[in-house]
Point group: C2
Chain length 560, copies 2
């Protein structure tokens, strides 16, 4: 065992156990409160973040041809002014190719140890990462610390645990001996070596820049593949901070830092295609739009493509014993991170005839009203509202809201408006827009409307609710789906219907953020509907990132 693996063995062991039994666990603190961390750590994190602003980001990479940076804080409206390396693919790939053999030759244990150290070091910069995420992705500080910090690291560790498990499944050596006819006993020493596939390109998204980045990074790097991180131009800083840690840890461990690089770009001159289409790129991990994700899935033959994109996440309401709790659970999803999460609910299906609440029929209109009231409940206290909603990461999100306000006309159930974000008067904010819809409006809701726009859909019947919701999951994708019902028989039918559409489903979640996806426990993304072709993480996510070559020896053998 290598020193780094030994150092972090307990963490890895715990992660493997959590993956096997899928209980609740986190390897990192989810709460940024100074009651836990003291005053000094959070202040130092903020200071480190501020020291980066207006500067060239400290990364020295071969193949740099210039600097770019167009991040604008959704909180202040001000450019961050951080400048990142823009890379010439030829120089970048050449440098990476120099780095490849040493990493490929390292033992799986050595590589897993390096990845564990990377995760731990990233865990030490959770505070500055939270500020970087706030001022790029627009998340609130608390969300940026937990969701884009601790929970994202957990997902990296989860993928790393799977990679470790898949690699450990292949023994290093074997002794093989048998008789062939009268030829006597043939005795062979066999050695099995794991070889990486090539270079991995990780295309990161804007709103949760590290959520899928840590898992893809760990899955590829641990299995021997160098990684190029291609951040979104709107949210580069959190990714750059990870790249810097990776390069430092690699160098300290005696490896070439160019095994992990950052390739920044601009909206005007995107770098993704030249990176993913380069012949040395063997693996593509993509988080982003369904359109480009699907294009990658279809147009990169011979490369491994893992995608998480988006869909139209749904709720089906059949009955509840506690309408207030149910409405609040759903409304929480409409508010959280201004519904810019891959798990945010968009389509709420309620039978036109209403639902049963504690044995009484409550009309469709009253249920819709309860949900809108619950949104207002969450927004009542400004500081809590700001923590829950954060900001809109980009002006295009506000444009989505505006477009649907116009389309909806008189069918707005709850109008969207800016809210005051304490401490950030210039913050780009918008409260949830809730629109009344019927199946006649399917064009509106059979796609992801990115941002705080949702539809309360009056389907003709309960069965029509389920058919619409699951049909949309099958055709347009879904990452989360919810059902509320007190009837176990209906729950059973609903689960089967969602599963038949290739979707997972959560039933009767209240009293918790229903958007929450738990690393080590939830298999995030099924890979069976258009919202992505991969699960982060399972064995399939890791086991093809390396291949096995073997040597066998009769008699003399070289030193191992």
């Amino acid at each position: 065992m290598t020193a780094l693996l030994q150092k972090h063995q307990d963490l890895l062991t715990k992660a493997l156990d959590a993956c096997a039994h899928r209980y609740a666990w986190s390897g990192w603190p989810e709460n940024p409160s100074s009651k836990i961390h003291g005053e000094e750590k959070p202040a130092a994190g903020l200071a480190r973040f501020e020291s980066l602003l207006g500067q060239h980001f400290p990364l020295l990479q071969p193949g740099e041809i210039g600097r770019v940076g167009e991040e604008v804080s959704p909180y202040t409206g001000e450019p961050l002014g951080v400048r990142y390396p823009q890379m010439d693919p030829q120089g970048l790939f050449a440098a990476i190719n120099v780095a490849r053999p040493g990493w490929a030759a390292a033992s799986p244990e050595a590589r897993v140890g390096v990845c564990l150290e990377i995760l731990q070091r990233c865990g030490e910069q959770l505070f500055e990462n939270a500020h970087a995420t706030m001022h790029t992705s627009g998340q609130s500080y608390v969300m940026a610390f937990a969701g884009s910090g601790a929970n994202a690291l957990d997902r990296g560790l989860e993928a790393l645990a799977y990679a470790h498990k898949a690699m450990q499944d292949v023994p290093a050596t074997a002794h093989w001996e048998r008789q062939f006819g009268r030829d006597g006993v043939a005795s062979l020493e066999k050695r099995y070596r794991l070889l990486p596939r090539g270079i991995g390109v990780v295309v990161c998204c804007a709103t949760f820049p590290l959520w899928n980045t840590y898992p893809a990074l760990c899955a590829s790097l641990a299995t021997g593949n160098p990684v190029i991180l291609k951040p979104h131009p709107a949210a580069t800083l959190p990714v750059a901070m990870v790249a810097k840690v990776c390069r430092e840890v690699l160098a300290e461990a005696g490896f070439d830092p160019n095994l992990v690089t950052l390739a920044a770009d601009t909206r005007a001159e995107p770098a993704t295609l030249p990176l993913v289409q380069h012949p040395d790129t063997a693996i593509i991990d993509f988080t982003g739009s369904p359109r480009f994700g699907s294009w990658l899935e279809q147009n990169c033959p011979g490369k491994l493509v893992y995608t998480e994109t988006a869909g139209c996440n749904s709720v089906v309401l059949e009955s509840t014993d506690d309408l207030t709790a149910t409405a609040r659970a759903i409304a929480h999803s409409l508010c959280q991170a201004s519904a810019q999460m891959c798990t945010s609910v968009q389509n709420i299906h309620i039978p036109a005839a209403g639902i049963q609440v504690g044995g009484e029929t409550v009309s469709h209109a009253d249920v819709a009203q309860a949900i809108c009231a619950a949104v207002d409940h969450w927004l009542a206290e400004p500081r809590a509202a700001a923590t829950l909603c954060g900001t809109l990461f980009d002006p295009t999100v506000q444009a989505n809201v505006d477009r649907y306000r116009e389309l909806a006309g008189g069918r707005i159930l709850r109008d969207s408006a800016p809210y005051d974000n304490p401490g950030f008067p210039a913050a780009r904010t918008a409260t949830p827009l809730v629109i009344a819809a019927t199946e006649a409006d399917r064009d509106w809701y059979r796609q992801e409307v990115f941002g705080p726009v949702s539809f309360i859909i009056a389907n003709d019947s309960l069965e029509a609710c389920l058919a619409d919701a699951t049909g949309n999951a099958r055709d347009c994708g879904a990452i989360t789906s919810h059902v509320y019902s007190t009837d176990p028989a209906f729950l059973g039918r609903a689960v089967d219907a969602y599963h038949a559409a290739g979707a997972s489903v959560a039933c009767n979640l209240t009293g918790m953020p229903i958007n929450f996806a738990a690393a080590y426990s939830d298999f995030h993304v099924t890979g069976l509907n258009p919202a992505g072709n991969a699960c982060l993480a399972d064995l399939a996510f890791v086991s093809n990132r390396f291949r096995i070559v073997q040597s066998k020896f009769m008699g003399v053998a070289p030193a191992a």
Copy 2:
């Protein structure tokens, strides 16, 4: 645990252990001798084979639109006259789609149990399968019994063990509980369900019809995917016999027999494209030509494609302590199954200046001569020669031999000729053609020349031997590669060079058939060079054939 899994639990446990430790083991008898089996079983197997000749093969499948059959025995030159169902894709897929839900709903344990029973029943027809394989693929009886029987079944069990392991990695349920802020404890029951991908099409090859068929069948079927077996028109009978067993076992176990079907075709009217391109086909397992395999890899986006094709397998000779043993080992590969195996050696690289034998230099010409003499050694006794060489499965193989005889002209080191196959005067036979080559002849040997044609290549130096052989493996594919050297340092360099080309390598194998690939021990095909993109079997071969969906419940839950 299901009854069938319980019945075969010991076999599965043993296979899992063999895969983990990769020692020599076989679950089935490799020797057809009546000394082991008695007289009755072999005779009954022959009788059952003969009873099939000239008949409609007993398969009743929905969607049949006619019967085809164009098999001709390479031993007798006579048509077998067996007629197989030709399928209308529309009717076939419709029937399979009816069968899918029941199989998807079955537990992984139930499906693995059915696959184990299928393998065991196929093991009971090893004798008739051996005759069927002889008279289609042209293998000798002994080879057909062992290689296409026991060893192929072993590979099916190996893939099944991996599928079982990958599915067992996902627990069925979990309890998850945690605190969210002041909201109290959230407690969830979670259920994880494995869903299949779709329909699997297994395209089988002519010369080893079941070698990759059992593994692909087991990998797809165990993970819930129905399987269409598309046999080669020249070697349909062995595959049809497996399809029949599958359908019987499925029906007896209470499942729809259409979960495994046979789609026979003819050379004039191939059925493969409509099957693999059907939208319900999600998985393609292909064994056959590099050209079509590569086309499938590049042109089936969104489908899982697993290929084993072919390459130009090489030997590099540096030195040996026993030239006779080394020459015989190599010559054995040139003779076995008339070099129609995916593991047959084709290119023998020997430095022009000769090699060291027991410390003495032996000239290139003398080493080449020793190899040719070793071929003659194996052919000296007619019955043994027939067992070793079998026949040419198809007239095109003889055409290959003829073409290279002509091309080689005066550079024939050992000429090919028919040999007398005892008991089968009309057998299509050809002994090895061995051609002297230099790097000027690279066009000849940088491709698979299918059949008993090999090249003894005089490279300028030892390093040139290694560079040529490994470069060809990288560019043109290789399934097996051999090095003979008494120098551990050279062996180390050679292993590294072959691995860098994405190839496995065997060193100094003598006294055993060097073509032998051991199930549970050898990772067959690396997936890193053009001879195939998959390994049969490893975790990567199975873990993406199913996906995971989950349901989670707070409070009330449907019956499990």
